[in-house]
Symmetry: C2
Subunit: 380 residues, 2 copies
């Protein structure tokens, strides 16, 4: 049972406010939406009748009558989201407030090409839906993260590296043939940023750095994902200061990625005779105080920090959140901080937080849910 949410205009606004956790009562909704309390009441009634909202107990008093708590009805629908990596896919079902119902990870080779990969994801969605969601609860949207650039205008993959067969593939159109629903296709770092944003509710401007096999970055401006013309957030091919000269896969010398990515660290460790298979293994080495690993990670942090310096001065965010598998290595964050504090303008760092990402491993899935909900509730 798939169907679009029957919401237009202000109904969508109200649902979104509840879904994102910004509002919990009719009074909250009136305050945040700008509508009159009476209109809110009417609308909420309609949404409850439509089975989208539900009343659930009462909230805590703020000095007067207790509010009647509003939640999205569990039967209102689910979202199916995936985060595609090079060798695996993480997928899950979320309720309409973005809370995960199920999350699992499956092996999946992106090199098998888009048709195969997307088919597998869709099959997995079907399985999960059959197993975990009653048939009466409709699917309301489908979204996926892609480890490469996505053109926001066409929702096609553009000039990806390491994704043979995907170039210019119309991912959204392909999914649309299987699902007549709102479809989201977005770069994985952007999804991660969108997910992280919900954990920093009072912060408008965020940079979210993903330090894993590659180095990604997503940007939140005024609480919303900044896409630019589709490529925004790239920091991996910034030129870093260096004595030697390393040619990056992109063809230019001395890209940040060639020095500070998980892939680069893995290669450097191999030169020291230490073999690791995944960036997470490097974290283990650091925790075991293997000097080569610690030194490399510290260096990577400093390099990332130097790049962030430029961006912090320019963009002047409230928060720089650092996630990705490498971020579990403490020296990384420490040396990023040191570089930024040292070199940035005092005005730019005055109230800046540089902190570990809060959203955890499912950040991208949560972000997909957040953006998808937005899309599903904004239509018409």
């Amino acid at each position: 049972m798939n169907e679009r949410l029957p919401v237009q205009g202000a109904h969508g606004d109200l649902l979104r406010l509840v879904a994102t956790g910004k509002a919990e009562s009719r009074a909250d909704l009136a305050r945040l939406s700008g509508l009159a309390a009476s209109s809110v009441s009417l609308r909420v009634e309609e949404l409850i009748d439509a089975g989208l909202l539900a009343e659930e107990g009462s909230g805590t008093s703020r000095g007067g009558r207790r509010p009647r708590r509003l939640r999205l009805s569990p039967t209102a629908g689910v979202l199916a989201v995936a985060d595609l990596g090079a060798h695996h896919v993480r997928l899950g079902l979320l309720d309409l407030s973005g809370t995960p119902l199920v999350v699992e990870e499956r092996p999946c080779e992106i090199a098998d090409g888009p048709q195969t990969t997307l088919g597998r994801i869709a099959d997995a969605f079907d399985e999960l839906l059959a197993e975990h969601v009653p048939p009466a609860v409709p699917l309301r949207g489908v979204g996926t993260g892609i480890p490469g650039p996505v053109d926001p205008a066409t929702l096609r993959v553009v000039t990806p590296s390491r994704m043979p067969g995907w170039n210019d593939f119309p991912v959204a159109d392909h999914l649309a043939t299987r699902y007549d629903l709102p479809i989201l296709v977005e770069n994985d770092a952007n999804l991660m940023a969108a997910g992280e944003a919900r954990w920093w509710p009072d912060h408008e401007n965020l940079m979210v750095v993903k330090a894993g096999t590659g180095i990604g970055c997503g940007v939140i401006v005024n609480g919303r994902l900044h896409r630019g013309r589709g490529a925004a957030g790239d920091i991996s091919h910034v030129r870093v200061r260096s004595d030697s000269s390393v040619i990056c896969a992109c063809g230019h010398p001395d890209c940040l990625e060639a020095y500070a990515s998980g892939a680069a660290l893995t290669a450097a460790l191999a030169e020291s005779g230490i073999e690791v298979s995944r960036p997470a293994d490097i974290v283990g080495l650091v925790n075991d105080a293997v000097p080569e690993a610690t030194s490399l990670v510290r260096n990577a942090g400093r390099r990332i920090g130097e790049v962030l310096t430029v961006l912090v001065n320019f963009f002047n965010p409230d928060v720089v959140a650092v996630g990705g598998s490498l971020s579990a290595a403490e020296p990384l964050l420490t040396s990023i901080r040191a570089a930024v504090w040292e070199r940035c303008l005092p005005l730019a760092t005055r109230d800046l937080e540089i902190a570990p990402a809060r959203a955890g491993r499912d950040a991208a899935l949560l972000g997909a849910g957040s953006l998808l909900l937005e899309a599903a509730l904004t239509q018409s």
Copy 2:
């Protein structure tokens, strides 16, 4: 005669659309505001009755009946704006659509301190108003640009260099004692960006670089000025790659400003035995094909371009507009372009325009008008 605009909510929206030139007819307003055509007609009638809007002839047909052109009434009010520099102030009066009525430049030493300087500006405003504006036309807002950082929360000047006596001075509060009106206080590069933005109506994301005595930059995201926490847009203290090592006034080595600003070029020319007093003189030398000057400017452009490379990848704007007195030297723009095209990701430069600023010398004043109008029309 000073008074606040008696506008609330949707009335303000309509006025703003006309003022910013986005709408010229009732039909435009209906399309852009989302209101029904009938509501627009009613409102417009009210605004005309209130003396804020006026009908003026008819526009060009788009294949059907000609629209009746709407303009802000010339009697609707004026804005007084100033752009403060180190040794002079540029000031002007604008009508409510942001069109300059008078602009003039006066000598004015910022080092005389805020009280004196602001007093002079206000006196100048009074003179201009008495001379150029009928008493019946009310002043609707006052704004000024500051050549230093402004805290957007308090509208105070914070840690400015080269502005003795101004640190932490509450500029807006001080002006408010003389004018009971909307007051705008903003960094000059930000004002320039806001002014420039109106010349790129279909472009949402802009970087506006001001290459003059210093190097400033303003950022427009989604059509609106991005302030961050107040320091956004700084690019002058980014570290550039360099063999030697020059200590910048900020205390750090190898800031962009120490290599590519008008001040730095002036100093470098002096070492070659060529004395110039203003950055504009350097442009003259370049036009006269003085090799030292050309080479220096070309180098400055390359350095600025290298910094922009990072920011273009990250922010992925539609346009990079280059203004400021140095921008009149052709090699500057050319070498900026070369550096960016060479090093940026193809995806980021695919549709990027790197172009001379369009708004001209009054950019900051126009920007002040634009932001001030926004402020005056948003209240309540």
